[in-house]
């Protein structure tokens, strides 16, 4: 293609984009003379170039548009919505012609006379009739905005103040040779601000002297981004930037080498200039990095126009709020998220927001809001698109799923709202009842999701019916500079992104922190918590070379543990050495290495060496923790299938006979190994001094005599200030398994037996041993107010015998009168019989009637409608909590959180008594 033509196309397209934005701005601030003249200039340039290149059709269209702009500028015509619409239409026409021009290098045949005549008609006659009616509208919009939107208010003010004198200046320019000003410019600004009606006619305006104007023009930092910035930037091809980047990297390496040489020669004449070079190179590197970064606002540039058109097309009132437009991200990523973003904003405006009437009826302001918010968080860019519309209708989604065969009714019944909402990301899904011209063109959220995932991002959604929907996009800052911790393992160095590192712990055999093992699985006690550990050496199958390969290497005496966090999962990575942190540039690994999920990239360190960057997400996933947000749905489905036998983490140990014993891990505070020589006897009980207190020791096997010396493992149970130790023979493992307890009430201290890790295991009744140490263990606080006479009655509904048997004794010793049933229907039978309870504690996932339905049924029945209900579930996500509250549960407690349950019960009953 002709160079001239291609240059023209790029330039004009850019100009059109700017015009789109500025026109929408103009509609809201019709008084803004500077904007007006900037728009006019752009329009004029387009027209002029068309004429120069011999493109008559384009020229005539552009000319007609320019005509109106000219009238606007001269004040012969006031800015109106109709006028702006016409000009936008004219721009679209230009764009269309350009597209053909680009493809064929020929101006397409066609007739624009209709558009041109309408444009001319508006330019000629419009002023008399239309502005009177149309002009006030945009103004009220503008004023409304300043009043309604507090945040915008400041900006708006600054904007107006800043532009005031400019405006006068422009008018002054229009009226060459005007008399000197009668008022100082500042007074004029105040006057303008106070006057909401547009002042279309420039004639009577006093104009300041050009010189005074210049001086009086304050810098315009906020509002005016379009034109002035454009003038201060130049276009550089990406290739040039990439080359620059490579060269700077090399320069950095050379500098580092030079500095290293310098260190060997203490007294050198080069020292000072080299230091200087050092600083300059650092700055240079930073500067070049910056050239790749662009504010996300660039990807948003088209949105105001889209929203404006949408609001006209759909007859909705939509307010687009954009926050954090200055947040920078790599330009490559920027390009890739542009389309998904546009699609999502369009979706929010079209499907999310209701019609103004419906909004008023729902008690919301007539104008709907779509809020775009971008910010940095933890090495990622978060972009949120939220609307205050009607939210997702789960029932509609369900219907749609069944219709499209995405899920069966039975499957859907077992899911919570959040799981159901995720279906909108599935291919072949569109909730809009009818396909509108705006969105719902068969390209759905699945495409959005695919596109975002392509660049390593995630998209999440949360929606409340009637309140609105929030989409959260999380994208990595690829190619950006990351601060990383450099560690060593088996003489190899690795980088761990600093953002996922919580802290560093040094362990040695003699210090406070030592690594302990449960069945060869290393763990670390860290501030009263057990921290799971992974060995980098084993994980990466590294060896020092002097040890036989394949064998599990013994841990060294001194280790460094990098405590990392992925989501809510915290774990420690054992490494040999920790160096310092270094700023690194993340480079993607070669395609042949992409399957290795433990690395997120590689980088070149200051000394020129290549190191791999460890991906904590990958490590977490590789070591068995499902912490990745994306697998959420899968986990939910698992849970659904698992039905009522949820997985429980159990600590398996041995004591007395050979049969392994198990106790829920959640009940155990710590694992200790005590020195038997330190065991004392007090009041017929074994005690040991532990953390400045006496801790009673209860042998697991009754009558078991403790040895006089040696070490013995102890399971420590804690409750507030008190602890007790259960002495066992050996700790075997931690197992997460489904719990199917077969009962046997024969043996004291056991709930029953279960198959754990394919072995028959006795499940220990922790409550029994706790009361052995302190008979009033559970009653210590809760019990005080609950004497025999007014024991609170609790109905416990749980289908799992394991939990029934775990909770029953626990609640009993806490001073409650507990009745347990295994299903909701059984509970309702009790209700029929006229039984009365103070509190109902119910499981959520149950076969037949689930907890939510049970709660609804209870609420409907007048006999029990006032009985407070507490939900009990192994999973207490915020969404569950919300659903629980909606169904009528007072509170929602995690099954394994004994303390929370007791506190909740106590509170509930206290409240009940207070009310009575």
């Amino acid at each position: 293609m002709d160079d001239l033509l291609s240059e023209f196309l790029t330039e004009t397209n850019e100009g059109l984009t700017t015009l789109d934005m500025e026109l929408v701005k103009l509609e809201q601030n019709p008084n803004d003379a500077e904007l007006l003249s900037s728009i006019f200039r752009l329009m004029h340039t387009i027209k002029g170039t068309c004429g120069f290149l011999g493109l008559p059709r384009l020229e005539s269209v552009a000319h007609a548009g320019e005509n109106i702009m000219n009238k606007f500028r001269d004040g012969e015509l006031s800015v109106s919505a109709t006028g702006v619409s016409l000009i936008l239409e004219c721009l679209d026409q230009i764009r269309e012609i350009l597209t053909t021009l680009e493809a064929t290098e020929q101006e397409p045949e066609g007739d624009d006379s209709d558009l041109i005549s309408r444009l001319n008609a508006h330019a000629e006659g419009g002023d008399a009739a239309e502005p009177a009616a149309a002009a006030p509208e945009p103004v009220t919009v503008a004023v409304d905005e300043t009043v309604e939107d507090d945040e915008e208010d400041e900006l708006e003010k600054a904007f107006r103040e800043a532009l005031g004198p400019e405006e006068l200046a422009a008018q002054a320019a229009a009226e060459a040779g005007a008399p000197p000003p009668e008022h100082p410019p500042v007074a004029e600004v105040v006057e303008l601000k106070a006057e909401p009606t547009p002042a279309p006619a420039p004639a009577p305006k006093p104009a300041p002297k050009p010189a005074a104007k210049k001086a009086a023009t304050p810098p315009t930092p906020t509002g005016d981004t379009g034109s002035s910035v454009a003038n201060q930037s130049i276009r550089v091809s990406v290739e040039v930037l990439e080359n620059l980047m490579t060269m700077v990297s090399e320069l950095v390496l050379t500098r580092n080498q030079t500095l290293q040489i310098l260190r060997a020669h203490k007294e050198s004449d080069f020292a000072t200039p080299l230091q200087r070079l050092n600083h300059v190179v650092s700055d240079l590197q930073e500067g070049v990095m910056k050239t790749r970064m662009q504010p996300i606002g660039n990807a948003w540039a088209k949105l105001p126009r889209i929203i404006r058109d949408l609001s006209h097309e759909l007859d909705k009132k939509i307010d687009l709020v954009m926050k954090g437009a200055e947040t920078e991200l790599d330009r490559q990523v920027l390009e890739l998220i542009k389309d998904p973003l546009t699609h999502m904003v369009r979706n929010s405006a079209d499907h999310g927001l209701e019609m103004p009437n419906d909004r008023v009826a729902a008690g919301k302001p007539e104008t709907g809001q779509v809020i775009l918010n971008a910010f940095h968080e933890g090495g990622h860019i978060i972009i949120q698109i939220s609307d205050d519309g009607k939210g997702l209708n789960t029932d509609r989604i369900k219907e749609k799923c069944i219709e499209n065969g995405l899920a069966s009714e039975g499957e859907l019944d077992g899911m919570n709202d959040q799981q159901i909402q995720q279906f909108i990301f599935k291919p072949g899904f569109s909730t809009a009842a009818e396909v509108t011209a705006v969105s719902g063109r068969g390209v759905g959220m699945d495409v959005v999701r695919t596109n975002i995932e392509k660049i390593g991002g995630t998209v999440e959604l949360s929606s409340t019916e009637g309140k609105g929907t929030i989409f959260t996009i999380k994208i990595p800052l690829t190619l950006a500079i990351v601060s990383a911790l450099i560690v060593e393992c088996c003489k190899e160095r690795f980088a761990i992104p600093q953002l996922s590192v919580v802290e560093l712990v040094r362990t040695s055999a003699h210090s406070e922190h030592t690594i302990e093992h449960i069945n060869e699985t290393p763990v670390l006690r860290l501030r009263n918590r057990l921290l799971p550990l992974v060995t980098l050496r084993d994980l990466l199958k590294l060896s020092d070379g002097d040890e036989p390969e394949g064998e599990e290497t013994e841990l060294r005496e001194d280790n460094f543990i990098v405590v990392s966090q992925v989501g809510t999962y915290t774990f420690g990575i054992i490494v040999d050495r920790v160096f310092d942190t270094e700023e690194i540039v993340v480079k993607p690994v070669a395609p042949i290495l992409r399957d290795i999920q433990l690395f997120s990239g590689n980088t070149i360190l200051g000394d020129g060496a290549v190191v791999m960057i460890l991906d904590p997400n990958g490590i977490a996933a590789a070591t068995g923790e499902i912490a990745v947000a994306d697998s959420d749905l899968g986990a939910h489905e698992d849970r659904h299938q698992a039905g009522n036998d949820e997985k429980v983490a159990m600590l398996v140990f041995r004591s007395g006979d050979d049969a392994p014993k198990a106790v829920p891990l959640a009940l155990i505070a710590r694992l200790e190994e005590i020195d038997l020589a330190k065991v004392e006897t007090s009041g017929g009980q074994h005690v040991v001094q532990y953390r400045g207190q006496l801790m009673p020791l209860i042998p697991m096997k009754t009558g078991m005599e403790l040895e006089k010396e040696g070490r013995q493992p102890v399971l420590v149970f804690s409750d507030r200030e008190r602890s007790m130790g259960l002495v066992v023979d050996e700790i075997i493992d931690i197992v997460e398994d489904r719990m199917n307890v077969e009962l046997s009430a024969e043996k004291e201290g056991y709930i029953g037996s279960a198959i754990i890790a394919e072995k028959a295991t006795d499940v220990v009744d922790a409550g029994y041993f706790l009361t052995q140490a302190y008979p009033d263990w559970f009653g210590s606080e809760a019990g005080k107010e609950n004497f025999e006479s007014n024991k609170s009655k609790i109905l416990l509904v749980d289908d799992s015998p394991f939990f029934r048997n775990l909770l029953m004794p626990m609640l009993s010793v806490a001073g409650y009168d507990v009745q347990a049933v295994e299903s909701a229907s059984e509970a309702l039978t009790l209700c029929e019989k006229g039984e009365k309870f103070d509190v109902i504690v119910s499981d959520i996932e149950m076969p037949g009637m689930n907890g939510f339905e049970f709660a609804e049924a209870v609420r409907e029945d007048h006999r029990w409608s006032k009985t407070p209900m507490v939900a009990l579930s192994a999973f207490a996500s915020p969404a569950d909590l919300m659903r629980g509250r909606a169904a009528g549960f007072k509170d929602y407690v995690s099954k394994t959180d004994r303390e929370a349950l007791l506190t909740t019960l106590q509170d509930t009953i206290a409240e009940l008594k207070g009310a009575a």
């Binding site: 490579t246 070669a590 042949i592 290495l593 070149i604």
Partner: protein, 151 residues
């Protein structure tokens, strides 16, 4: 595929276990001396690691291992750096020979009896005086996706 090199073309030659190989001279970015290579844990065995070539990360591939040949005795080796799909790879070879221009008429297709791996990665053979030159198909040699599918 084999018809591509019928014209006169120059090849950078190298030796692997006594056999002469060639890669088109235009696909070669660099010839480098032994370098410090960072091993990549968990990577396939023939991937020797990665190295820094003037600020770009290059993945080093041991050609012997990729061809299923026994490892070479001396640890250090010369490498030929080639670009493939915007990524640089350094092919570790026994020794690098001269650049040869070959006569199109001496081109032969791969003998069907050739070892599977050689057949996969060879574009064809040139008959030279006293020796045979195997032309390495760099694209296929580095195409791990295809290889994984086959495996």
């Amino acid at each position: 595929m084999s018809d591509t090199y019928l014209e006169n073309e120059d090849f950078v030659t190298f030796y692997i276990a006594g056999q002469l190989f060639g890669v088109p001279v235009l696909s070669v970015q660099d010839i480098i001396n032994p370098q410090r290579i960072t091993p990549i844990p968990l990577a396939p065995p023939e991937i020797a690691g990665s190295l820094n070539l003037r600020g770009r990360i290059v993945t080093a591939i041991d050609v012997r291992k990729r061809l299923g040949l026994p490892a070479r005795k001396e640890k250090e080796s010369m490498s030929i750096v080639v670009e493939n799909g915007h990524d640089l790879y350094s092919l570790m070879v026994d020794s690098v020979g001269e650049v040869l221009g070959v006569d199109e008429s001496s081109f032969e297709r791969n003998p069907p009896t050739l070892d599977q791996r050689f057949r996969d990665y060879s574009q064809g053979i040139y008959r030279l005086d006293g020796k045979l030159l195997v032309i390495l198909d760099v694209n296929r040699f580095l195409d791990y996706g295809r290889n994984a599918d086959a495996a």
